[in-house]
């Protein structure tokens, strides 16, 4: 049984501009001790789905199911959720400066996390805080424990956050863009640290990021999100070597140094959609080079495809249309040719009318 099993998670926010449908029927599993990378662009719903699991999205309409070790998280009352949060599932955030309280010393904040969940004396909690800081390689932990967050560098703050998150030895750590704000060498330090801790403590991780490089380095399996839904999911090799979904394929072609790119970059045209007005059918169809009429009409199911074991994709292309090379693209193109009718013609006309200058940039 999976450590965490999310089924058909749906999250929406009523706003004055309309309902923002941030997550639309997302399903995934996290196995004990494994790392799941959730990849997506701004507004793909990757952070919102994680926050919803922990009840950190007040005001959102949430439905679906999220079972963690036999407990349905979405049915828990706030006080029950509080016991899970921090102790069983911990989270680290992108911006360590705004997620540490500026008025309290770092050690105090770690002690608070420990004493909220465990009956521990203040002195004992402080002793543990020092140990935790030492564990995340903060030099002179006895001194830093009484430092304020602003007295630490960005990398050290993120270490303090990690120390706090690991204080209660959670079974699952959710890291939301853990290294985005940090430099490459600091990022490498922290991922090495997290990887080491994960092995020692046997904890599972969800790493939420837009950085495919980070995913290629740390994830066991990868979930690619687009406009609030899972587009593709597979083990890390399959995602980079034999992707099925044209969005995943497009991401790989647009990143310098990625497995599927070489020479000139091939960008994905257009912008990610607004989550208030999500395109019909497959949300990616306006940007998809392989869009067919069916894509405009019907939402594709998340079904097994042939890249490898457990490979799932939500795309109307045939299951064997996997790969990143030119031959794979030719095969995809051949398949869609006979399946483009009036819907695609209308779409093309609309795009051409809206952006007369666009050809220069995307050509």
């Amino acid at each position: 049984m999976s450590l965490l099993s999310v089924r058909d998670l749906t999250v929406s926010f009523p706003t004055s501009d309309g309902v923002v449908r941030a997550v639309r029927g997302l399903s995934f599993d996290v196995e004990a001790g494994q790392t799941l990378g959730i990849v997506g662009e701004t507004g793909s719903g990757k952070s919102v789905s994680a926050l919803s699991l922990l009840g950190l999205n007040p005001g959102a309409d949430i439905s679906g199911s999220a079972v963690f070790e036999g407990t349905e998280l979405l049915a828990l009352r706030q006080d029950q959720l509080r016991r899970v949060r921090g102790a069983e599932i911990a989270m680290i955030f992108q911006d360590p400066l705004s997620s540490l309280h500026p008025y309290y010393r770092v050690g105090w904040q770690i002690c608070e996390a420990i004493r909220t969940h465990r009956r521990t004396s203040r002195a004992e909690a402080m002793r543990q805080a020092v140990e935790l800081l030492r564990m995340v390689s903060i030099p002179q932990p006895e001194r830093r424990v009484s430092a304020f967050p602003h007295e630490l560098s960005g990398g050290m703050r993120q270490r303090a956050m990690i120390a706090m998150a690991l204080a209660l030895r959670p079974k699952l750590l959710i890291a939301d863009e853990p290294t985005t704000a940090l430099d490459a060498t600091v990022q490498a330090q922290l991922m090495e640290l997290l990887g080491g801790m994960q092995r020692e403590l046997g904890m599972a991780m969800i790493v939420i990021t837009h950085d495919l490089g980070l995913v290629a380095t740390v994830a066991d399996s990868v979930l690619v999100m687009y406009a609030g839904r899972g587009a593709e999911r597979a083990d890390y090799r399959t995602i980079f070597r034999s992707p099925h979904h044209p969005y995943t394929r497009g991401l790989l072609a647009s990143i310098p140094g990625a497995a599927g790119s070489g020479g000139r970059l091939v960008p994905i045209v257009g912008q990610p959609p607004s989550l208030i007005r999500i395109p019909s059918g497959c949300a990616f169809h306006p940007r998809c080079p392989f869009a067919m009429d069916v894509c405009v009409r019907d939402q594709p199911p998340f079904v097994p495809v042939s890249g490898g074991e457990g490979h799932l994709s939500a795309c109307w292309l045939p299951p064997d249309a996997v790969g990143v090379d030119a031959a794979a693209d030719v095969a995809r193109q051949r398949y869609v040719e006979g399946r483009r009718g009036p819907a695609i013609a209308r779409l093309r006309a609309a795009v051409a009318g809206a952006r007369p200058g666009g050809a220069v940039a995307h050509g």
């Binding site: 560098s153 990398g155 020692e200 647009s254 990625a258 960008p267």
Partner: protein
């Protein structure tokens, strides 16, 4: 457009001010540029108590039509250097020689002619566009300021520029807030192009953009370079992006250039331990490369530029440091076995194939201690 000989700095006796044939000299030469920011204390009588040594004696050349990449981590001085090159900051000392003319001491007025020929694209497409002005007037600003075109002619040229960068010219009267991040960056590019400059300094032009949009802007910049014969100084912290766009790359650490070489040469055989560490730390979007590569993990943080380390500034974190490194600063020079254009400032350069070893104890030792010790944390449920 603007000829090199135009305003001459009367105080300078540089012979290079006499316009030489264009191809003889590099488009831009930076010599020993130093930029310190004073730190002051006191309310009435401000005393200077120190200075941030942001750029400390940088020299480099940018050739016509090339893209020079500039990489380094936060606080290494790459953005400050960019602003020194474009003279948005006055220099503390040193020279910036643009197309044979020393512009480092020119007044704002004298600089105008040169500003036409060197433009800048900024990182933040939200902060670098005035939210209360229409796109047409933002892009038209350079044309207005330099008195090049006005009225219908200005509008025509702005719309032409919008088309060149892939914006819809009908959106001339829209506000920046009506555009997405990628489109705003196109507005920034159009503004930089308006005066047909020869040099564009791009300061992290794609860092704030979504992955799928980044490639659009990178391709646009590449196309424009060919079309308008542009020279770029391209600053980014994303090494894959820099490797993709640059002809040559300079690596900065704490205000100094530590290594400079042709792109393939630098990425293929880095000689400075910092370059090697930086390259090994960058996470490529290719699982085989990402996992097989030997990662050199540097410990500690970048020291403060207020009080930088003596000798080689990298010696406090360098896995190869020897006693001499803290005393004697290595000059930037061609190391034995390297081609002429590959310079490195290091006493003990990395040999080809050499694997660097990190300096601190492995993480797992402390983690094991944690896992074994303090059993009191693990027991008991929620209190």
């Amino acid at each position: 457009m603007a000829d090199t000989a135009a305003p001459v700095n009367p105080a300078s006796d540089e012979p290079s001010l006499v316009a030489a044939p264009a191809e003889d000299h590099p488009l831009l030469r930076v010599e020993n540029v130093v930029k310190h920011f004073p730190i002051k204390r006191g309310i009435f009588f401000k005393r200077q108590i120190g200075s941030v040594q942001a750029v400390e004696g940088v020299s480099l050349e940018v050739r016509r039509g090339e893209t020079l990449g500039l990489v380094g981590e936060t606080g290494c001085g790459k953005s400050t250097l960019a602003r020194c090159i474009t003279r948005l900051y006055p220099l503390t000392s040193g020279q910036v020689i643009f197309d044979g003319a020393d512009i480092s001491r020119l007044s704002a007025r004298q600089l105008r002619t040169y500003r036409r020929r060197m433009q800048m694209i900024f990182q933040d497409p939200f902060g670098s566009l005035n939210p209360r002005r229409r796109v047409g007037s933002i892009i038209g600003d350079p044309l207005a300021i330099h008195g090049i075109a006005d009225g219908g002619e200005r509008k025509r040229r702005v719309q032409e520029l919008m088309e060149v960068v892939g914006l819809n010219p009908e959106h001339y009267n829209r506000f920046p807030s009506e555009f997405s991040g990628g489109q705003r960056q196109r507005i920034g590019v159009a503004r930089a192009l308006a005066l047909r400059p020869s040099l564009i300094v791009c300061d992290e032009p794609v860092s704030a953009l979504d992955v799928s949009v980044q490639a659009q802007i990178i391709n646009l910049l590449e196309d424009l370079q060919g079309e308008f014969n542009l020279t770029y100084v391209f600053i980014a912290h994303d090494l894959a992006v820099v490797e993709h766009v640059s002809d040559r790359v300079a690596v900065m650490y704490l205000g100094k250039i530590v290594e400079l070489a042709e792109t393939a040469e630098l990425f293929g055989s880095p000689r400075h331990p910092y370059t090697a560490a930086l390259l090994s730390a960058s996470m490529v979007a290719d699982p085989e490369k990402a996992r097989s590569s030997h990662r050199v993990v540097l410990y500690g943080d970048v020291p403060s530029p207020i009080n930088p380390p003596s000798g080689c500034r990298f010696h406090t974190r360098c896995p190869k440091a020897q006693p001499i490194c803290s005393v004697d600063e290595p000059p930037l020079r061609v190391q034995a076995g390297d081609p002429a254009g590959h310079v490195t400032a290091c006493h003990f350069p990395v040999a080809p194939g050499e694997q660097l070893v990190g300096a601190a104890p492995p993480i797992s030792a402390t983690a094991t201690a944690f896992a074994a010790a303090s059993p009191d944390i693990s027991e008991g449920g929620g209190a």
